[in-house]
Amino acid sequence: MNPSTRPNSASDTLENNDIVIRTENVSIFYGAFQAVRNVFLDVPKNNVVALIGPSGCGKSTLLRCYNRLNDLIPGARVEGKIAYQGVDLYDPKIDPVEVRRRIGMVFQKANPFPKSIYENVAFGARINGFKGNMDELVERSLRGSALWDEVKDKLKESGLSLSGGQQQRLCIARTIAIEPEVILMDEPCSALDPISTLRVEDLMHELKKQFTIIIVTHNMQQASRVADMTAFFNAEATEGGSRFGYLVEYDKTYNIFNAPKQQATQDYVSGRFG
């Protein structure tokens, strides 16, 4: 297929027309290397959108553009338009720090700060000049990430003393605490055991009542369990030999897994992909 044609956009068929993030013809470069090409992708409010696809197709790259974390990578460049509630995120007048306060991120590897559990959760609020009741915010965030009961008696202990699964939920709590509107998750469960994974997935069902979530995952079952919408990316080699990623198909999760329109999607979700 020609990747520059606009893939089937499902958003017109959605009942919920409230689009939080609009991705219009976005290409992403690392220096001269084009990692992602011509992506159109609209994220509806209070949905979970899963990004799936083979390794190296640019899922993380795209995700990092939604909160301008790619700004930290020297040479990274975005073309096209990413609009958050109608505002162009890459407008020169936009402060990337402010963007990241509204669009939080949870990373593949749990990365709590070497501080107490309490301070980990309070960190974002403190730097945002939060004036309210900090104890209450910390409790609410930890409850929100289903961690409160496990840590309520040891809030003063180091965040690093928790298990991997608990650490990841701590990182989710930390993100909820800044009260963002969108949460980006890059393979949040890839280092977790099945039980912790299920916990985090349950959590996502809870969280989407309040937040909009974009999640990258390699786990098909996970995508089909948690996501309302799924975007399948693929990578294609150019004449020069380098590979670029592009969006193959974006639709309701049910359609992607049961009635994909593209052969590549069909191959990938049924495991026939190399």
Partner: protein, 320 residues
């Protein structure tokens, strides 16, 4: 000779007695290493033992009063190193006061992509060169170039803030403050090198996590990275302190070698190391013994600082 393809198991045992150069070399190295370790241990013991032995008469005569007595009188044979202890600790403290913020600042600057690599590499290289300059060169430069250069400034400070005890004397040609500044330059590379290693070995996820929560670069550095690397930074400061306490040549040339513990930083002073460097030539008898007593005190002081540094640094490595 039962099989040509697989040798019988007994040959395994045989092979150990066969000549195998690699095994031989391993053995030689093992013994060499053990012998060297033993030698180093013996030398250390020897030094400590002779220090104690020679210092013993002075320890017997002056006891702990040696630490608080300010007299150094070879005629009446009364010795005490209070001014030297005071000078040693104060000069090291002042040196840290200047070198720590500067050193940590430079380390952060070098690791946090403030500058393009083209500029960073030379700066890092210059920092390392700073460590390679012999201390006598620092002393010479200090006495003929640096101290005269800063003298007008210090005189200005003395005129304006002379009512503060620390600045209450008119700065002459040599003084504790100037010596401390040069000392600060000398220990800067230690602080920069170790703090920089610490900062750059912090997991990148820490940075991302902080930025991802909407922290600015400044907030990320001050609230996440520096606290995370704190034990490593403290370790670097301890090592620098160890060096500052024992630094001899530059201080002997710059500190003024006055046997008094003046509250004013602008007056000449003395340190244990510079005292020893200045007196060992003509010392004998109880004076020599007292120098060894002083050396012992210095050794204990630096040993304590080093042990503390090791503890802090190893605690940091455990966190990693």
């Amino acid at each position: 000779m039962t099989s040509l393809t697989t040798a019988p198991a007994e040959t395994l045992i045989d092979s150990s007695t066969k000549f195998q150069p690699e095994r031989q070399i391993n053995q030689i190295f093992r013994w060499l290493t053990i012998a060297l370790a033993v030698c180093v241990g013996l030398v250390l013991l020897w030094i400590t033992y002779s220090l104690l032995l020679i210092a013993l008469p002075a320890i017997r005569t002056f006891g702990l009063g040696f630490l608080t007595n300010s007299t150094w009188n070879p005629v009446e044979e009364i010795y005490g190193v209070f001014p030297q202890i005071y000078g040693t600790i104060l000069s090291s403290f002042l040196a840290l006061l200047f070198a720590v913020p500067l050193g940590v600042g430079v380390a952060v600057f070098l690791t946090e992509n403030f500058l393009p690599p083209k500029i960073l590499t030379p700066i890092a290289f210059i920092m390392e060169l700073l460590a390679a300059i012999p201390s006598v060169v620092y002393g010479l430069w200090g006495i003929f170039v640096f101290l005269p250069a800063i003298r007008p400034i210090l005189q200005g400070i003395n005129r304006a803030f002379g009512w503060i005890p620390f600045f209450s004397t008119t700065p002459g040609g040599r003084h504790l403050f100037g010596a401390s500044l040069v000392l600060a330059i000398m220990i800067l590379p230690t602080i920069v090198a170790i703090s920089r290693d610490t900062m750059s070995s912090l997991p990148p996820q820490l940075r991302q996590g902080s930025y991802g929560l909407g922290a600015t670069r400044w907030e990320t550095i001050t609230r996440v990275l520096v606290p995370a690397g704190l034990s490593g930074i403290i370790g670097s400061v301890m090592l620098a302190l160890g060096r500052a306490l024992g630094e001899t040549m530059a201080l002997a040339m710059l500190v003024g070698n006055a046997n008094n513990a003046n509250i004013s930083w602008f007056s000449p002073a003395s340190t244990i190391a510079s005292l020893i460097a200045n007196q060992f030539g003509e010392a004998s008898g109880l004076q020599k013994s007292s120098l060894f007593y002083g050396a012992l005190i210095l050794m204990v002081l630096t040993l304590l600082v080093n042990i503390l540094a090791q503890m802090v640094v190893s605690r940091f490595q455990q966190v990693e």
